[in-house]
């Protein structure tokens, strides 16, 4: 499952930005009820992917900015998503070497830890400000983790296509 690093060309910035925008779009879809509880955090997923695969370009600062945008989009408090994504990015950047050595199944376990921490921080802030903890919220952590494998495969195939297309 693990792809060879040398096959993949450096991704363009446009691709990164588009992926983040797509994630914001997916987060913004009108989720309701159970679907909203189970909704994976696509933005976190995408940010974590780039933090682990392109730690030089996508790091803590960019994650923080995306977090701010997510705060505006979700109408949550300023800094709530930003703080969570900052921690997420830090986890991703620190662990990126280890993750690159694992296959996708092992990566998923590692990623779950990072997501759990991110969700915990978000819920903690919510608890501090609003005084309630929505436990079903943590279900999104599981679904986000489960989406890690499909996302990785998807992005790798997209990048490989670019590799294939570029030489011709």
């Amino acid at each position: 499952m693990r792809t060879k690093p040398e096959i993949q060309l450096p991704v363009s910035n446009v691709f990164i930005v588009l992926s983040v925008l797509a994630a914001l779009f997916l987060n913004g879809l009108p989720w309701e009820g159970v679907a909203l509880m189970l909704r994976p955090d696509f933005v976190a997923l995408v940010m974590l992917y780039w933090c682990t695969h392109k730690p030089v370009r996508v790091g803590v600062g960019l994650s923080w900015m995306v977090g701010m945008i997510a705060d505006v989009a979700d109408a949550s408090l300023f800094g709530q998503h930003a703080l969570a994504y900052t921690l997420l990015a830090f986890g991703g950047v620190v662990l990126h070497r280890r993750l690159q050595m694992f296959d996708l199944r092992q990566q998923t376990i590692q990623v779950f830890g990072i997501f759990a921490m991110t969700y915990a921080v978000y819920a903690l802030i919510n608890w501090q400000v609003n005084g309630l903890v929505a436990w079903p919220y943590f279900l999104g952590c599981l679904t986000s983790t489960l989406l890690w494998t499909p996302l990785s495969i998807l992005f790798q195939t997209m990048r490989q296509k670019k590799v294939d297309r570029n030489p011709t």
Binding site: P5, P10, L21, L24, F25, L26, N27, G28, L29, P30, K54, P55, V56, G59, V60, G61, W64, G67, M68, I69, V72, A73, L77, F78, G79, Q80, A82, L83, T86, L87, F90, V93, V94, I125, V129
Partner: protein
Amino acid sequence: MIDGTQSHRFFNRGPSPAARLVFFSVLSLLLLFVDARYRYLESTRSALSVLVSPIQRLATLPGALWQQAGDFFITQSTQRGLIKRNEELTLQHQSDAAQLLQLQALQSENQQLRDLVGLPIRNEFSSQIVEVIYAERDVFKRRVLVNKGANADVRIGQVVMDDIGIVGQITRVYPWLSEVTLITEKEHAVPVEVVRNGLRTIVFGMGDTSQLSLRYMPTSADIQNDDVLVTSGIDGTYPQGIPVARVIKIERDPAYPFAKTTCLPLAGVDKNRHLLILSSLPKLPERPDEKTVAANAESRVKARKK
């Protein structure tokens, strides 16, 4: 990413991830605190929302499209029926609303008519019910026009009352209408007596307000607030014992010989729509003419002298 480039660029990368983490975490916490506590950042939020809103609008698009598609098919099939139904309901609603308004008016009118019907049984005179159709437009004249006139044998001088007490008097009769002068008309006089002690007096209309006044009451007269005045029946114009007014204020100023007494009419003088004209009052014997009395006296004196 090749290791060599990464290590080569390592020193150019600026602060370490840990330092960045601390910096941005503190920044986030600061923003959180400011936003949660002071709400200073609304302008920033609205500025950033300009960036986000296209994405959000795009995100709501699939749902909206789906709904519109559903609406389209539903509308196509039932639109005609709905429009027709809506029109029917609107018409129905309008007629119902009008009827409801009428019902309320009818209820109060019915209550008043019941009271009026009950009244002649208490007092032994016949009466006819009339309806007020015009009110005098001049504010200084307290008059109304009612819908029965000479055709219904209404005569000048007949007493008009409602279910409570005296309202006025017929002062003019037209073929189909008659004019009622209300007791609040200026200089309109009603002979009354105080229920409590039988004190006889005359109550006059004030004209400018819907109040009545008692004139020529000596300051020593036995009259109090809340005394009820009823018609005394003296003079034969008004039947006896019909409520007229209630005393509300007495000013006894020693500088004047008479007390200034203000009353309020008991009947709904300018309220009701239906009134009662009293007729066939028992005729009193004619009042002797002043001249004949004087002549008689003179002849008697002359007879004595003889």
